[in-house]
Each structure stands twice: as C-alpha cells, then as structure tokens.
C-alpha cells in the first residue's frame, strides 16, 4: 500500500498524471476506454500512468479498489505468463494468484481463503479472497475478480486491513464489481 502511495506521489510530482479527484458522477469510463463501471460517489479516484484506476474513500492505505486492464500477453508480467480467452477460470485464477505471490515477500506466503468461479458482465471469471500480513503485523484481506476476454485480462481488486476497514466498504466494492461492463459489446461465447 505504501508503494501505491509512493507511486502516486512520484507520478503526480512528475506531472504525468492527473491529480486524485473526487468521484462526483458514479458512471465512469476506463482511462483506456475498455470498460465502464459505477464508482462509489464521494470517493477519491486516481489514474496511474499505466491506466490503472485506484479508488479509495478513507485513504489508499486503508482501502483501495483497483481496476486494471492489460493485453493478454502481458497479463502476468512478474511470472511472465500470458492469459488467454480460452483458459478455464481456475487456470486464470491460478496464474493470477501466482502473480500476486510474486509481488513481494509478504504476499508470497498469502493464504487463499476463497477461490470460486463467477460471472462478470456475462463472462466466466473468478473471484478470490486472500489474506496476508504487513511487515507491521497488520492482517490485510484482498478480494480479486478477474476475467480474460479477447480484448485482454481485466482485474478488479479490493484491499483493506481486516481490522475495521475491510467489512466496512466491501459492499461498495461488490456494487462496483456488479456494475462492471466491457465497452467491447461483442461478447465472446462462454466456455
């Protein structure tokens, strides 16, 4: 989380992205135009240089919703694996969790609490929930949705300390997920 803050600060100071802004209108188009989503109003949104969208109400270390889109071949850069639209949801979830585990040492020993197939905008995807400890011993919970479509790999994540914050805004996150739709209307057949 600290890294997210540092990345935001560095990008903002470098003048390459817009500063964080309040979400006044819920319906939001992705920075790369690839999806539409309803964000919780009154929250703060911030776009990273790679077009990843970060949203928070109480501050990024306390809860963050992350929306990201990547080309299939660059879906999992740390493990250097590609996603494909024909992958089974469990295979996609496996690659995603593997990528998470390679983010840093704390995440390498994350515990998978839930991992199940879901439908996202009419497509097959996955939902996982993992937990891990920060270096200060704070338990974090991290829920992720993911789907692969011919236009790329999409992930919607929510991370917050289990203590107080996670349950407090989980409902807002789930509403955001439910509103997620790809702008590419030509939907691929489900497996």
């Amino acid at each position: 989380m600290r890294r997210i803050l540092l990345a935001c600060a560095a990008a903002f100071l470098a003048g390459c992205v817009a500063p964080p802004a309040r979400v006044d209108v819920s319906e939001t188009r992705a920075p790369d135009q690839s999806y539409m989503v309803d964000l919780p109003t009154g929250w703060i949104k911030h776009t990273q240089p790679d077009k990843t969208l970060l949203v928070s109400r109480d501050g990024f270390p306390l809860q963050t919703i992350i929306l990201a889109h990547a080309p299939l071949e660059r879906a999992f850069p740390r493990t250097k694996k590609a996603a494909s639209e024909t992958m089974l949801p469990s295979e996609l979830a496996e690659l995603y969790i593997s990528e998470l585990k390679n983010r840093d040492q704390q995440l390498s020993v994350l515990k998978v609490i839930e991992n199940e197939p879901v439908r996202l905008d009419g497509r097959d995807g996955f939902r996982s929930r993992v937990s891990y400890m920060t270096p200060r011993g704070l338990e974090m919970h991290h829920v992720s949705y993911g789907l692969a479509d011919k236009s790329g790999f999409y992930r919607i994540e929510y991370a917050a300390p289990k203590l107080y914050y996670f349950d407090r805004t989980l409902g807002d996150f789930e509403k955001t997920v439910a509103s997620f739709r790809l702008t590419n209307r030509e939907k691929t057949a489900t497996k």
Binding site: L88, Q106, E116, P117, T134, P135, R136
Partner: protein
Amino acid sequence: MARNDRIALAAILVGAALGMADVLASLAPFSEAGGARPASEDEQRVWSQAQEFSGIIGKSGVLYQDGALDAYLQQVMDSLFPEFRGAIRVRAVQAPQLNAFALPDGAIYVNTGLMARFGNEAQLATVLAHEGTHFTHRHGFRSQQNLKSNAAFASVTAMLGVPILPQLLAISSIFGFSREMETEADQVGYDRLQKAGYDPHESPKVFEHLMREVKAEGVDEPFFFASHPKLKERVDNMTRFSARAPAGGGGTSRADYARTVQKLRVDNLEGMLSMGRAKSALLMLEDPDHLAELPPYAPYYLGEAYRLRGGEGDSLRSEKAYLKALADAPDFAPTYRALGIHFLKTGQYSESIRHLTRYLEVAPDARDRKYVENYLQIARNKKEGR
C-alpha cells in the same frame, strides 16, 4: 610545517592509530555465549536494528511454522557452536529462493528452498557453520562500519519507514560481507564442521549443487547463494579445505535427512508451484533419487510442474506423471482433479467426468468444489455434443 605543528600532527596520528587499535581490539570474535554482546553504542545500535528486522520477519508471517524442524535446526547449530548455545538462534523462512543469512545479533535464517535442496545433514551443517561464523566473528557489525553498507542500510530503513521484506531477506547482500569475511566464514565454518564430526567432503557438494541450479535457472535474484561468482569461491575454498581431510565423517545419511525434511520439501514444492516456479521444481522432481525421497503422491507435483511449464510434450508428460501418482497413491485427491481437467482440455470427456466425479467423492469439502462442478457440467455437455 613548524616543529610544534609536526609534533601535534604526530600526536593526532598516534592517537588515531591507538584509537583504531582499540576499535579493532573491541571487534575481536566472540568467544562464548556469555561474552556475545555489543561492546559499544554503535554495535548496540546495529543489534537493535537486527532485532527490529527479526520482529518484522516474525510479524510478516514468513517464518516456517514447524516446531520439530526448528528444534532440529537449533540442534545442528548447537552441535557446531556448543559454546554459543542460546546466543545463536536459527529459524526457517518460508521462501523458495536459495538463501540463508545471519543478522549481527545472532539470529540466523535459512530459506526452506535452500533446506529442501540439501542432500544430507552435513550439507545443512556446512551452511549453518558458515552463517554462524558471520555472527561469532561480528561480520554484521564490521560491515556496518563500511560507509557503503551504512548507506544501503539507511536507504532501506529510512526511505520507507520500515524495511520491506524483499530487501530484508536480501540482508546478507545489504550488509555486503566482504570477500575476506566470506573466506573467513568458509575457513572457520569448515573447522567447526570438522570438529562437530560432520563429513567435510560434503561441504563442496552443497555449493556445487547450488551453482548448477543457479546456472540452469539463470537466477538473477540479489540473494547471497544465488550469486554465481560467490558460489564459485565457496566451492573453491571448500574443495581446497576438504582435500586434506581424511575420508569419513557423520551426517551423510540421505535417508535420515530426507525423513526429517520431507514435509518441508512438500511444502516448498507447493510454494514453488503456486508461485509459478515450474523450472525450479522440475530440477528437483526430475531427479529420481530426490523424487523417491518424497511421499508416494509426489509424481502429482511432477505433473503439475510439467503442466505449468507448458512446453512441447509437457501435456503428455504431465498425464504420465499424474497416472503414476494415481497408481502409487490412489487416495490423494488432487490427482483426480488434475486428471479430470487434463482430460477435459484434451477432449476425453468420459475420462474427465470419471476423474472429476471421483475427486468430489474423495474430497467432498474441497475448496474448489464450485470450479469442479462447473467443469463436470462442461464435460457432460461436450460429451453429449451440446
């Protein structure tokens, strides 16, 4: 320069030299546990930082939780450094990288990935003796006297407020033990190994094996044991020392060590595969001797490693390995799921249905039940041509 000035300068130089002598004297190796404590405020500060690091390691959930294994590690360490019992504390870190490191206060950490690769206790003892010597000879504190190391240390602790784990676990690189210190750790460690009754001829094998693996993997991680030139030096030193040692010694039983670390090896394999490190896993699993030391269901992991590598011919290799796992351990549920998914993907729907159904019978409370039920439905639909 006036004569008085020259005398003053000489006095300063002599004073400085005497001061340096005091510093050097105070940095003599510790001789036993009672005397192993900081000798100055500076050293106390370094120990405090080390304790803070240990606290973070503990809180981060990366310590491998196995009391019996902790006791075993400590027993091997105490046999190498009997007079330091209580002062040197060893713990295993749950991480697949080939790493071990010593903190200045006597805390020693060995990655499960490294322990899983040793062939016997003598090889483990070689690394513990090396790391223990870094503590007894105060290499951590001495490295802190080096400006560069201080800067690296400060950048880790100050920039982010607290050190983050990747840097923390590369601590041996951060402290940057000099070549002389590493050689000293080789020499003293080797003497300890021999004195404790371990077969010294095992010592070069540890590093030779690791060097082969690092080379095969093209590892570029900043970990001490993953550094190829440093490994080469370890091999050269250990080969030189052991060349004059008589044959024989203890700690060479592969079977005893394999029994002790069997659970750790399985956990390490699962950790590696869940991180996508299929090639590293295959380096171990394709070794028939290593595979034979694992539980009967181990070929399942071999199959998983082939599947994850996904190279030419790996699909067939994984099927063969899964079938071997099924034959050797018919009650091991994950094999049924793996075969069910494999047959689903290869269009053998009847076989897929059979194995996925069996999986849910063997593991009715499986966490991935919803996925499997979905796949069963897909297989049935495909079989019926829908």
